[in-house]
Point group: C2
Chain length 266, copies 2
């Protein structure tokens, strides 16, 4: 496993690599990342993981500062998974150049998380656009937990005619059903139990019948959730709002436990 902190050295190394699988991360790796990496290892070629806590995608400075970081553990995991290249850039390296392509920001960015985290998706797309230009990967691996992000990155790649293929991977869950997330590390035992209750509740919702989302919200609040940003049904292809759950729709939720904001879609 080769670790790079310098863009120049990395680019020299991968200049002739035509089959790179790119797994972007903000570090503090979990089972979801592990799955993305394992998937990428199966397809052959080389796996390149980036660790970069992108300040531009945090709408709150405190959230950026409190985001869990553990590079030492991350590197041990990446080594165990036999990752080929790890790139750990600093902010300057990423933001000091002008990308050739501009960011395409689909209007879906205004929905769901876009309403509650101003500038978040702009920040995500900006950094992904930069990484794609630096790395020119054959594939990018993204998780379906961040479904809206996945959708917007797909749109950007499509509209800007970038040749990288998006590989969307299923959400990996803890045994208690909670979607794996670096933010889970900030939850205490009681909060984890509540998050598990929320998952179980949403998992059990009957398909096909029209749902009263306000009643569902009230029930979730009763579990001990501090605040619900949204609980909505969306079609996963058109990203239009729905009223019923069926094979083409997911229920999207974002809620707060203490100072931690969690998202999921089921």
């Amino acid at each position: 496993m080769k670790i790079f902190k310098s863009k120049q050295k990395l680019q020299k190394e991968i200049l002739y690599e035509k089959n790179i699988s790119f797994v972007p991360t903000m570090g503090s790796l979990h089972k979801g990342h592990e799955f993305l990496i394992k998937k990428s290892k199966k397809i052959g070629g080389k796996t390149l993981v980036t660790i970069f806590v992108n300040p531009k995608q945090f709408n709150k400075k405190s959230d950026y500062n409190n985001y869990p970081r553990n590079i030492k553990n991350d590197l041990i995991l990446l080594k165990r998974l036999k990752v080929n290249f790890v790139y750990i850039p600093n902010k300057r390296e990423i933001f000091s150049f002008k990308p050739n392509k501009s960011v395409f920001l689909d209007k879906v960015s205004k929905k769901l998380c876009g309403q509650f985290r101003k500038g978040h998706f702009e920040g995500v797309l900006d950094v992904v656009n930069r990484f794609l230009e630096i790395l020119n990967p054959k594939r990018i691996y993204l998780g379906k937990k961040d479904f809206q992000q996945l959708y917007l990155i797909k749109k950007h790649i499509q509209k800007r005619k970038i040749k990288t293929k998006v590989i969307a991977c299923k959400t990996i869950r803890e045994i208690n059903g909670v979607a794996c997330s670096s933010r889970n590390k900030r939850l205490n035992k009681k909060q984890l139990r509540i998050a598990s209750q929320v998952y179980k509740f949403l998992f059990k919702i009957k398909k096909k019948s029209k749902l009263n989302l306000n009643i569902l919200k009230r029930k979730i609040l009763r579990f001990g959730v501090n605040k619900i940003d949204y609980l909505e049904i969306y079609n996963v292809e058109s990203f239009r709002k729905g009223l019923k759950l069926n094979t083409n729709t997911n229920i999207f939720v974002s809620y707060h436990l203490g100072k931690v904001r969690l998202i999921d879609n089921i």
Copy 2:
């Protein structure tokens, strides 16, 4: 998913099932169990999971009493994994009949864990023998974390000419490298950190050179481990002791953190 507490009802249900994958568990399910079940689902047929904390395989009553139990969470996971049958027997149902076949106890049962947990493998094989007779599964799924147990069950099945095929599955690890185990739930944060250090230390050991196990033990104790039952190299096929690590040998370890005894092999 059908849940059975009665052997009679279960046997009636599976009488004509010729393609059952059997995943034996003591409940308190973790990612290792999840992997076994997912593997079994992939192969087709029906997956049958048993949840039974077998008193006969605990050499200490306190260990049996403190073994983590959480049937409610277990059932939610099993439902999510689309398991077909769950069998949760009581002790009487399992132990009140005389099995047709006797247990074959290979002499490997005297090594490693056998030295430190008197009667443990006798208890394991007794209950597995009984379950195999009740369920007559096509396949049984076992994890390599409990390598000695896997070896002994294989030997028993072979010697007693039982038709069930043993599917040995890789050890699933937490992100910090610690092998998944229900006992991990009893560790506090500091103990988890020590367990992770032990894994990382053993993972980094160079292959091919002769190892001084006493020096390694002393290093591990310095991490904060309370006691090491054993640290040995064994050939994974012949189960003969070795001195060097190579592709046919694993390093086997058992150690104590507080009141919790952990095992691993790498």
